[in-house]
């Protein structure tokens, strides 16, 4: 048995026939080919799968596609304007906030939600906000620097 889900993904209307048990991340990766959103765990902790639904960061591995019916979804692929990176993406590049790149999409999406709520987060606030995003490569040092810089450029 399948159901139809409709949503807007990165500004485009999409419709898909899926099993009810389909997760949002499966819809994005398997049905829509948006493989920038990653899966790094099965207990909703690593945050590699973070996307925005209706403007808020969520874990797309812990959300049924059906729950997002009618929603607005933004993934990492929807941030840049052509070759022009979003200021947060640019800050990650500038400050070496990524190494293997696997956690990066979730980190960037999470960071943007933080800055949308708190335009000038402190280092402590950044570190606490990242509770739901695990990185094994960077030791977080440069991610924190990048988010600090990204917040400044998003504000300015």
């Amino acid at each position: 048995m399948t159901i139809t889900v409709n949503m807007t993904v990165n500004g485009k209307d999409v419709s898909a026939e899926v099993e009810p048990r389909t997760l949002l991340v499966q819809l994005l990766r398997e049905n829509l080919g948006l493989t920038g959103t990653h899966v790094g765990c099965d207990t909703s902790q690593c945050g590699a799968c973070v996307v925005h639904v209706d403007g808020e960061s969520v874990k797309s591995c812990t959300l049924l596609a059906a729950q997002c019916d009618g929603g607005q979804v933004t993934t990492i692929e929807g941030l840049a304007d052509g070759d022009t990176l979003h200021p947060m993406q640019e800050a990650f590049r500038e400050h070496h906030g990524l190494q293997c790149g696997f956690c990066t999409p979730g980190m960037v999406m999470s960071a943007i939600d933080l800055v949308n709520r708190n335009g000038a987060p402190s280092e402590t606030e950044i570190r606490e906000w990242l509770e739901g995003n695990i990185c094994r490569c960077t030791g977080y040092h440069n991610i924190v620097k990048a988010i600090d810089a990204g917040a400044k450029s998003m504000g300015g």
């Binding site: 874990k59 959300l63 049924l64 999470s110 739901g132």
Partner: protein, 264 residues
């Protein structure tokens, strides 16, 4: 996940009917516990009834001397609510300490207390603040709501619609998180209420409980020092990889003092 049928009702009545008609229906609020459980194949409901589209379950309002939080309100909304921050800052702080930002954006008050995970934060707030749980069938006092590990007074088809938190004179929450999962190893909410001092402990035992000896001590003097030498017995506390029962008992005292110090 096993296969299931999915329903997305727009009213509580419709949801109650759907879940009662299902062979083995599961109510899903934010899904932040249920979906991981389904992914691990630890549950196999025939039907999942998603409460996420029910407008009447959402929202926060101040009613007289109480804050009423709709069961479908996400933790982030509670944490960020000016009403909650003004009336019961400890409740906002507790909501801010749940999970991570993404979990707080989806997870809900109703989902949390209906699940009654022994390491969840919200049960401490509901019990510690002496809240009243409203369902589609009745009102349940907090002292009667949490009945055991993952067990509540809710009956089949009964849906939490809101929780009414009376404003305390002051309250504080202190949490010692599990270093891995960040659930509460121990969370203590202390509140000075019109009905007396209440101390609710989550994480430490199989179910949230009140620490009566601490309540009596704080009734005499609402100060951290009043708790000196008072501890909960370790016998009934949880014992796992991260914290022995003895360590948990110790942490209950430490967190209780910190909650008192933080109370406002």
């Amino acid at each position: 996940m096993y296969e299931f049928e999915y329903h997305r009702p727009s009213s509580v009545a419709e949801a109650a009917e759907l879940v009662s008609k299902a062979d083995d229906g599961a109510l899903m609020a934010g899904g932040q516990t249920l979906i991981p459980t389904l992914k691990q194949r630890l549950a196999s409901p025939s039907d999942v009834v998603d409460l996420g589209a029910i407008a009447e379950l959402k929202g926060i309002r101040v009613e007289g001397d109480a804050v009423v939080v709709g069961a479908g309100t996400p933790h982030a909304a509670v944490a960020g609510s000016a009403e909650v921050q003004g009336a019961i800052p400890a409740l906002a702080a507790l909501a801010e300490a749940i999970g991570d930002p993404q979990v707080r954006n989806k997870g809900t008050l109703g989902g949390s207390i209906a699940n009654n995970d022994p390491a969840a934060d919200y049960p401490a707030a509901v019990l510690g603040l002496g809240a009243t749980v409203t369902t589609n069938q009745r009102e349940i006092a907090a002292d009667d709501f949490f009945t055991g590990m993952f067990e509540t007074a809710l009956t089949d088809g009964e849906i939490v619609t809101a929780v009414r938190f009376p404003k305390p004179q002051r309250a504080g929450y202190a949490k010692f998180p599990n270093p891995a999962s960040r659930y509460a190893i121990v969370g203590v909410l202390v509140a000075e209420t019109s009905g007396g001092v209440r101390v609710a402990v989550t994480g430490a035992g199989s179910c949230v409980f009140r620490a009566s000896e601490m309540e009596q001590a704080l009734a005499g003097s609402f100060s951290a020092e009043a708790l000196d030498g008072i501890s909960v017995p370790a016998d009934d506390l949880n014992n796992d990889l991260h914290a022995s029962a003895a360590y948990r008992a110790h942490l209950v005292s430490v967190m209780a003092k910190r909650a008192v110090a933080a109370a406002q």
